[in-house]
């Protein structure tokens, strides 16, 4: 029979142990601490998009498709440009014809099925372009759902797809809240933007950054405090997409509007 006194003491002890967060025990794992100091941990690629500078020319999309061997006529692309037009009646009009591959050479808004919506010049309250690409999330949901370990986060933060390993189940395409994934028309495996991994690992800029005449796109290493992109992210007002999903996206936007989804 437990006494009242012992019961209270045990209860207090129990609460104290339960309240200890799991992370409190992690600090005594020297292997993990060592790995964090070690190689591969001093690069973390991030992207910065300035939506004020984007004019919707779509040269980034054109360059991306050719650089990354995405069939040019197929209506899939690793990066795309969206147009947002807000009219004085409070309505939002958004489109991305062909992903913006050929630019926006029509003032009408594409509403699907080959139909277009006319917008009067005087009605436009605000209008702008938003380039989109893979956010290379810190907590990528697409990686969590992969049943075979074909998609993963490389040590430098970029989420890659192993074409040999991918079985084409499409879970990752459904799992991505940003809709950046699609099936490669030729390889029939999941495909996504990987910050032009073959270029950034050689010290080059991504194809979209090089093709952009207006400097709307930039790439940087957030682990380097001297990196100009890091400085902007740390000192200026930047936004991210769908923060509420907890994916910690690593593409930062200057001039993001609440209408952008």
């Amino acid at each position: 029979m437990i006494s009242r006194r012992d019961f209270l003491i045990h209860t207090i002890k129990g609460i104290a142990v339960a309240a200890l967060p799991l992370s409190a025990f992690e600090i005594i794992n020297p292997k993990k601490l060592f790995a964090e100091q070690n190689n591969g941990k001093n690069v973390r690629w991030v992207f910065l998009v300035d939506t004020y500078k984007c004019v919707g020319c779509g040269l980034c999309v054109k360059a991306c498709k050719q650089e990354n061997e995405i069939p040019y006529e197929a209506n899939v692309t690793r990066t795309w440009v969206e147009r947002y037009v807000l009219t004085s009646d409070g309505k939002l009009h958004a489109d991305t014809p062909n992903g913006g591959r050929d630019g926006f050479i029509d003032p009408r808004i594409e509403i699907g099925h080959g139909k277009f919506e006319e917008i009067k010049k005087g009605d436009i309250k605000k209008a702008f372009f938003v380039p989109k690409l893979c956010n290379q999330c810190e907590n990528p949901p697409c990686v969590q759902v992969c049943p075979v370990g074909a998609t993963y986060q490389a040590p430098d933060g970029v989420v890659l797809v192993d074409r040999e390993w991918c079985i084409g189940c499409g879970y990752c395409i459904m799992g991505c809240p940003y809709g950046v994934r699609f099936f490669h028309p030729k390889y029939h495996t999941a495909e996504k933007c990987n910050f032009c991994y073959h270029r950034i690992t050689k010290g080059l800029k991504t194809a979209c950054i090089q093709a952009c005449p207006f400097g709307a796109r930039q790439i940087g290493n957030i682990k380097d405090p001297k990196d100009p992109v890091t400085k902007i992210i740390m000192t200026e007002r930047v936004g991210i997409l769908k923060e509420e999903f907890g994916t910690k996206p690593q593409v930062y936007y200057i001039g993001l509007d609440k209408e952008v989804r």
Binding site: K53, G56, D102, I105, A127, P155, A207, P213
Partner: protein, 158 residues
């Protein structure tokens, strides 16, 4: 132990052993849990190198073009079109001049209209670019028959 218990047990153990042996032979050595743990870091490590090595760089950049076409490079650098990469109109260089020996230049109206279709969009850089309405501005004539893209100012008019 009775036969009807251990006979199927042996079969089951045999199947398990077969699966384990097959797995150890078929799964590459570098496949497994890496730095970021099981949830994000379960992959074939060799694929990281494959991605950085197997894809060919196609867009070389203006500095590559400059090595041979320095005259064109110098002249366009004096104009507002200096910000446009050569390959945006001339196509990806890849290994030009060896492969491809000749690049296909995009001289279409649509290529110019990417920036110069007049769209009155406030809060976008587009509003600051001089644009035309292609329905009114010399319809059906190629832009390059009057304008020189390497010298877009009015003095460059042909």
């Amino acid at each position: 132990m009775k036969t009807h218990v251990y006979r199927p047990l042996i079969v089951v153990l045999f199947i398990i052993a077969f699966i384990l042996i097959a797995r150890s032979l078929l799964v590459p050595k570098d496949f497994g849990v890496h730095e970021r743990g099981y949830m994000y870091g379960w992959y074939r490590q060799g694929n990281v190198q494959e991605w950085s090595n197997s894809v060919k760089v196609k867009y070389q950049g203006a500095d590559y073009c400059k090595e041979c076409h320095s005259d064109k490079y110098e002249s366009i650098m004096m104009t507002p079109h200096a910000i446009i990469e050569c390959e945006n109109c001339h196509g990806p260089a890849v290994e030009h001049p060896s492969e491809p020996p000749k690049l296909q230049i995009d001289r279409s109206r649509d290529q110019c209209l990417r920036c110069h279709y007049s769209l009155p969009y406030p809060t976008s850089g587009r509003a600051n670019i001089r644009g035309v309405d292609p329905e009114e501005h010399n319809k059906d004539i190629e832009c390059v028959s009057c304008h020189n893209p390497h010298k877009p100012s009015l003095e460059g008019l042909k």
